[in-house]
């Protein structure tokens, strides 16, 4: 790809990355009372920038490119947004705005109340996660992506231990050690690629890379490192305590968005950098790990006592679906991975899972703060006491199960079509079994929540019948942005 200049609207990409970080610095200077105002003020602006990038991309029907300082690769660094990046930018902007409104309930510092370090950190970290994710989506070279991934880790780990208890600190430390191991493996792969091909720019590298040992080694190392960060089975053990133990507004960010950063990077590597290097066996292995995640995660989710841990294990399972796209996209005849139905399905699943999982975590958080516990066995009467939260939880669950008209249905439909069309029926079985298991734990929760309580339900907080609007805005798993690139 020859790009001598930035395209129209390229500056929007730089703005999408810079805005959250500038807001973070402003908030840090402004202190605990100002930080939430700054965060809430930039959220609509960030959303508008994402929409602007999408409009520019639709207009030109080619990737939006911004060359930093006007230097073209290989000398300079380019920011690029293709269809997948645009879809993810929009998703993240939308979900962050929704979570921001919800988080006002937990982390607001109203006039007259004392500033707390937890609230202060939460807003700063939320902005940092947003900026890092935007950088992951638009980076055009593998080293910038490494830095973006590290930023994402540094922003995500403190979110785990916001509560500051020993157990959450332990979960955060475990997460950090997994992430560090993963990042050093990724860096090693990037170094090998630079040594072999003399560039880290994605389009240049894609033109030079060949199916030979150094490319295989680099791909294997980078993928293994990213799997540890994404928590794909069997490297998932850090995820449930980390995501289940964090405050709900932080869990929603971690489960819906942070894991998508490293997943998106695997997609970039396999589809954009080395589509001809990957082999059938490696794609099938990635799919097998995904299938393991779906079966194991769902089975363990069924055994959970607490609602938030159930949702966390459901994330373990849903990560599996994200990796089914790799074997399904492999074109055995051409011996390479190709864009198509499986790619759209995988991306669609990433998007609808972001909406659904953030809704479920926030609903679980509302239920916890209203009841003072989230034991699934004692949820009777919750549907009457907190109808909107239960409804949001149900809608999120419907998307995860894959019932129409949710986004999850479309994702599963495309993945299933790709499995049947590509004569890989065994993945179709996994998809269907996973949907059934998901439905089982969803109904296990909902049937208890809908039951009449033995004793009148005592609500700890004055959660109104119509709670904060965010919860149900976010609960709609199907969003128009998903259609723009489909």
């Amino acid at each position: 790809m020859d790009e001598a200049t930035s395209t129209d609207g390229g500056l929007l990409l730089a703005a999408a990355v810079l805005l959250p970080f500038v807001a973070m610095l402003l908030g840090m200077a402004g202190g605990g009372r100002q930080v939430q105002r700054v965060a809430l003020a930039v959220m609509p602006v960030g959303l508008a920038i994402a929409v602007g990038v999408a409009a520019t991309w639709l207009d030109g029907s080619r990737p939006v490119v911004y060359l930093l300082g006007g230097w073209a690769p290989p000398l300079g660094i380019a920011l690029r947004a293709d269809g997948a990046a645009v879809a993810m930018l929009l998703t993240v902007a939308g979900v962050v705005c929704g979570i921001g409104v919800y988080a006002l309930g937990d982390f607001a510092t109203p006039r007259g109340s004392a500033e707390t370090r937890t609230s202060f950190s939460y807003w700063l970290l939320l902005l940092a996660v947003w900026g890092s994710l935007n950088l992951v989506f638009v980076s055009g070279d593998l080293f910038t992506l490494y830095v973006a991934l590290e930023l994402l880790t540094f922003a995500g780990v403190p979110l785990v231990c916001l509560a500051g208890s020993g157990e959450t600190l332990r979960a955060a430390l475990r997460y950090l050690l997994f992430a560090l191991g993963g990042s050093v493996l990724y860096l090693l792969g990037a170094v090998l690629l630079y040594g072999g091909y003399g560039t880290l720019d994605i389009p240049l590298l894609a033109g030079r890379v060949a199916a030979e040992p150094i490319a295989w080694t680099a791909l294997a190392l980078m993928t293994a490192g990213l799997l540890a960060k994404t928590a794909l089975f069997p490297l998932h053990i850090w995820l449930p305590p980390a995501h289940g133990g964090a405050p709900a507004a932080a869990s929603a960010v971690l489960s819906a968005l942070v894991i998508k950063g490293s997943w998106f990077l695997v997609v970039r590597l396999w589809f954009d950098v080395m589509p001809g290097v990957v082999t059938l066996a490696s794609a099938q292995l990635l799919g097998a790990l995904g299938a393991g995640a779906i079966l194991f995660g769902n089975a363990v989710a069924l055994r959970q006592v607490r609602l938030k841990m159930l949702v966390a294990y459901s994330t373990v399972a849903q990560i599996g679906y994200l990796f089914l796209m790799f074997p399904l996209a492999f074109d055995a005849a051409a011996g390479r991975i190709a864009d198509g139905l499986a790619f759209s399905g995988g991306l669609m699943h990433g998007i609808s899972h972001a909406g659904a999982k953030s809704a479920m975590f926030m609903a679980a958080g509302s239920i916890y703060s209203a009841l003072g516990h989230d034991r699934i066995a004692d949820l009777a009467g919750v549907a009457r006491a907190l109808p909107m939260s239960t409804f949001a939880f149900g809608l999120g669950g419907i998307s995860l199960v894959g019932l129409p008209p949710a986004g999850g249905f479309l994702a599963k439909w495309w993945l299933l079509s790709a499995a049947v069309g590509g004569a890989q029926w065994w993945w179709a079985l996994v998809l269907l079994a996973g949907g059934l298991l998901t439905a089982t734990y969803l109904f296990a929760v909902l049937s208890r929540a809908l039951r009449a309580p033995a004793a009148p339900l005592l609500l700890r907080s004055s959660n109104s019948r119509w709670p904060r609007p965010a919860r149900w805005v976010r609960a709609r798993p199907k969003r128009p942005s998903a259609w723009t690139w489909a």
């Binding site: 080293f143 157990e167 955060a172 430390l173 050690l177 560090l180 050093v184 289940g244």
Partner: protein, 110 residues
């Protein structure tokens, strides 16, 4: 053995030792040291690769040097953050163990 080979073998050995330590050692501080050993291996490899520019008639390739500095800064920040977390963990639980005493079902407060 050529100079490049010495660097390559050293880098391999460091990465291998670091990866082994990161997986096998139970104590978080040892894991952190192992991460740093592994990172050093990657840096050695990257630095040695800068010699490749010599083939193109230049004294050396400057890009790896620039990236290397960034990678070292990132690794340093990661190390500092891990140590800070570890200190907090020891202060609040009086142990540095990564395995939790309570079953995973009861993790978390909120």
């Amino acid at each position: 053995m050529s100079v490049e080979m010495v660097f390559a073998v050293t880098a391999c050995a460091l990465v291998g030792i670091g990866l082994y330590g990161l997986i096998v050692q139970p104590h978080p501080l040892r894991k952190l040291v192992a991460f740093n050993v592994m990172g050093t291996g990657v840096f050695v490899l990257f630095g040695a690769l800068a010699r490749r520019g010599a083939a193109a008639g230049m004294p050396a390739d400057p890009v790896p040097q620039a990236l290397l500095i960034t990678a070292i800064v990132v690794a340093f920040a990661a190390t500092a953050m891990t140590v800070a977390l570890l200190v907090r963990l020891i202060e609040s639980t009086d142990s540095a163990s990564l395995t939790s005493e309570q079953p995973a079902d009861d993790v978390g407060t909120k």
